[in-house]
Assembly symmetry: C2
Homo-oligomer: 383 residues x 2
Amino acid sequence: MTDIREHDAHVADTRDSRANGEGTSVVARPEQAPTAPADDVPALLDHGRTLCTPVLREAVARLAAPMDAVSAYHFGWTDAQGNPTNADSGKAVRPALALLSARAAGAPASVGVPGGVAVELVHNFSLLHDDLMDRDETRRHRATVWTVFGPAQAILVGDAMFALANEILLEAPGHGTTTAVDAGRAVHRVTVATRKLIDGQAQDLSFEHRDRVGVEECLEMEGNKTGALLAVSASIGAVLAGMDDKGADALERYGYHLGLAFQAVDDLLGIWGDTEVTGKPNFGDLRARKKSLPVCAALAEDNKASRRLAELLADPEGRGDEDEEQLAVRAALIEEAGGRAWTAEEARRQHKTALAALDEVAMPSSVRAQFAALAEFVVVRER
Amino acid sequence: MTDIREHDAHVADTRDSRANGEGTSVVARPEQAPTAPADDVPALLDHGRTLCTPVLREAVARLAAPMDAVSAYHFGWTDAQGNPTNADSGKAVRPALALLSARAAGAPASVGVPGGVAVELVHNFSLLHDDLMDRDETRRHRATVWTVFGPAQAILVGDAMFALANEILLEAPGHGTTTAVDAGRAVHRVTVATRKLIDGQAQDLSFEHRDRVGVEECLEMEGNKTGALLAVSASIGAVLAGMDDKGADALERYGYHLGLAFQAVDDLLGIWGDTEVTGKPNFGDLRARKKSLPVCAALAEDNKASRRLAELLADPEGRGDEDEEQLAVRAALIEEAGGRAWTAEEARRQHKTALAALDEVAMPSSVRAQFAALAEFVVVRER
């Protein structure tokens, strides 16, 4: 599962030569660089995958046919015909956070495994459903499940993954040192996060029908859609290891702000990312009329570019049929209005807040350094 | 919520004057009639609705717009424009079972309320998704959510109801006498049942692409799709009230076989039910090429009618475009082959097995009589 993906995890300035001839990075390296060496992150992500993937595979194998096969395709373990492959399964940031959080509580990383598997299942349940709702045809350089197996399978397999997530957590007391009460606490946190994630998707969908969305509304939506699940990812291993709610809440705050930083970068990549690297279509978010952070921030400015952008977005003419050139004009206007710079700065602000939350929890310094390295990885990436 | 629905709950022989000129009932009254007076059932269902609906409404009100409004439409509380209505919310058998099961454990019915709300939410989550997957345009005499609000809302609101179900259960220890451990046990049972329900839907969908499905396979699918959630409905109140697993398992067996009886009747109504009463389209199951129990049982026979039916089902000509007359021919062949009689007999067998499971649990005799009355209601109904 880990052989072809080292290149994904490198931590380096992200250069975008397509939309920005000057080659500035999407997000510059934060001023307060973490102390852990940057090359720790691929090992950290690999470790998460190595421990969690067998349990994830065993969980998915429980599903009735053809849901097991559809899941294996979605996770990149097989192609559409069922032949084994080693395709992209995603960055696996969430399982890595879950294992780290177990170690933050002084437990072995393995105690966090049911948590890592659960959050990865919830994340992928949301991807399966969101891709269908958004009619996205590609993810991780491959055709999305609903385009290959039909909408019904995308719905059903998503539902099954959501149920499996709870099942795996509730079985934790049978295998490890986790108590039934702590497993229940973990399920509660995952449930609340999943509800927020669904609220966030509802808000995101409703934004597409509006000409203008405030920056605060957009941040609330992104906090729900991305922050909540990363928050619980960063606390769930600790909860399974018996950490009290005060500590777990602080870890959640780290994960929540990490999520907002992550999403700000995602929004930049959704407009200015290199489609070859991201695996997502060119100007995908603009084509879908997503009111992502750069768009909302641009519209919040009062300048010539923002007014022109508002006119274009309000114009019902050619709605949804914009060609590449028209989308490039919009991307340029967003940048000119200041939306790109504001979003990059917001990513840095959220990154800083995430690091501050870490300081509220006592944990081994090596674990703290790895949390910090993961945070930098999330902010400085090109996919 | 209860004013216009008393007629739904009557327990009487079900006559089908459309597909069967002789006016025989879909399922004759079981030989072993329960001791409770039949007119208890409407009161039982009303009681379940009265206690559970306010909590259900409060839960749904937590959802971000427009999911709260979509849910209110789905439950029949509002019309598509959001005006209050008192439309059909379903029979509410599951909440009634949940409250009864709390009483079986010697607790007040109110202890079962979070359980009743949770199973009702899971049931309606599955309806929202199944209607979309099956492209069903009507439910309970009204347009289905996906036809009114679009597929994305049907997916999203279903997801939200699933998450809410767990949320409500996990909050139970905060309000009533339920302990955190018992709430965790309840969530575990609901999770396992939901996974089975999803497996059952996957099997059901896969059957549509096959010409022939064995009776045993069909019963396994129906046990997953319908039996599992009715099983947990009949035990969840008891679990929340602290009943041990042995007693809860026996209550689940009652609910499971009740579910199989329920589904056998549903399959009969899906072909021979009066569309005016069921709110479902004429010959709906045949049009969708559902391999329901009467179809599987008919094909399992070796006679002239079953062979002719097999030919028609295997013929790719006009697949999915059959007119009312062609569907009526198939319905007649199923009956002639023996599929209708076998299914009615199977409903009686499952009903008997359900009652036998009740005898394994000590409970107040009035509760036992009401469980029995509910079982009869399920078997002898016309919608």
